[in-house]
């Protein structure tokens, strides 16, 4: 393998990386929204909402991400819903992360001392105010490390979208492999790219945790 060949790989791989990052970022935004909705939904006083949240969590945690992806992409059209590969990818990655994130949200909220809620009630805060202004701000810090892990899982799961023909990083690697047969260098480079992106995510989440802890006057671990 020559240096020029390596340069030839750069174009398609960078294009693949761009789509992988798009999938990951869009999936993460949807995933965080779903986590909060389902995590709070599970504690709702309104029974049907609690049911919907539980069913959503069990279904997405109990089935495989790949099956969900194929179901959204190949089976939904039979019910009259057509999604692009990118849309199906973002939806499944986000919904899947949300089902795991709901548990993180629930346990982070449960970790806030009970006295905070009692004090807020005593001071005349409404239920909603207590939740959004007292409880959630304190639940964010402990939820950061597990959310960081979920983000890395999301990045890894985004490779599955290559199987529904979305031309993200893994798909580009497969295409390049069939074109050039340079299997080892291509897959090694792509593995390293995923590794680096995962390390950047981990570093970003750690810095955020540190900054948040400092701004609250708590010493970061």
């Amino acid at each position: 393998m020559t240096y020029t060949q390596l340069l030839q790989f750069a174009g398609p791989l960078l294009e693949g990386l761009r789509i992988t990052l798009r999938l990951t970022v869009a999936g993460a935004v949807l995933g965080i929204i779903c986590s909060v909705l389902a995590g709070l939904g599970r504690k709702s006083t309104f029974v049907p909402i609690r049911w919907i949240a539980s069913i959503y969590i069990e279904v997405f945690r109990g089935t495989s991400a790949l099956i969900q992806l194929f179901w959204f992409y190949f089976a939904l059209p039979l019910l009259g819903i057509n999604l692009s590969a990118l849309m199906a990818g973002v939806l499944v990655l986000g919904l899947n992360m949300g089902a795991y994130g709901a548990e993180v949200v629930r346990s982070s909220i449960a970790a806030v001392p009970k006295g905070q809620e009692e004090a807020a009630t005593a001071l005349g805060f409404s239920r909603m105010q207590t939740l959004w202004r007292i409880i959630i701000p304190q639940a964010i810090l402990p939820s950061l490390p597990p959310f960081g892990n979920l983000l890395i899982e999301l990045l890894k799961n985004s490779a599955l979208a290559s199987l529904i023909t979305l031309s993200e990083l893994t798909f580009s690697a497969q295409t390049l492999r069939t074109d050039t047969l340079e299997t080892v260098p291509i897959f090694t480079i792509v593995l390293i790219i995923y590794f680096v992106v995962a390390q950047i995510i981990a570093f970003g989440v750690r810095s955020l945790e540190h900054k948040l802890a400092q701004s609250r006057g708590e010493v970061a671990a």
Binding site: A75, L78, K156, L160, L191
Partner: protein, 222 residues
Amino acid sequence: MKQPLFDWQYAKDVMPRLLTGLTVTIEATVLGMLLALALGLFWTICRRSPNRFLAGVVHWIVEFVRSTPLLLQLYFFFYVLPAAGIVLSPLLTGLLALGLHYSSYTTEVYRAGIDAVPKGQWDASTALGFSKSYVWKSIILPQAIPRVLPVLGNYFIAMFKDTPLLSAITVMEMFEQARLVGAEQFRYLEPFTMVGIIFLILSLIASQMVIALEKRYVVRHS
């Protein structure tokens, strides 16, 4: 003839093929997990080695395996091993990749379990002059493993749900069977839905078993 929205007859007809695939799925999960358990333990022991270089190298291997996609690791094994002269069946290749990938998780679990063993146990073993292998086998692991069994159980379920990825390297597990039937009949809704339901039922049963494990071991030990 107008086809119904969800064709129950078709769904029933695909079941035998899905169940044939299910045996492969279960085989892959059980053997993959055994490999992950053994390899994870090996990583853990290496990471506690007094040899700083060995501990460092193993730490980064584990970090690398954990932060790259399983699918890509499957491809890597599937295409690279034969090129290196190692010809394995797709199922065996898949098992190796699954086992390696999940060993990066099980090693963390073992580590947490071992960290929870009181330090005095190591000191006492040293004071009593036990050999290194005896200390691991008879003192530390019997105390460390029971309390992490539920977590290991959760990874077993996670691995079970990752087995459909083996279809990408042509292993005839349950999801691959569903894909093949769907392609033959030009209709994916029923096979994919049935596979999803089978996974859901089995994972729910397995989660209940993990909860039972938790009650039995974690409560008693803490």
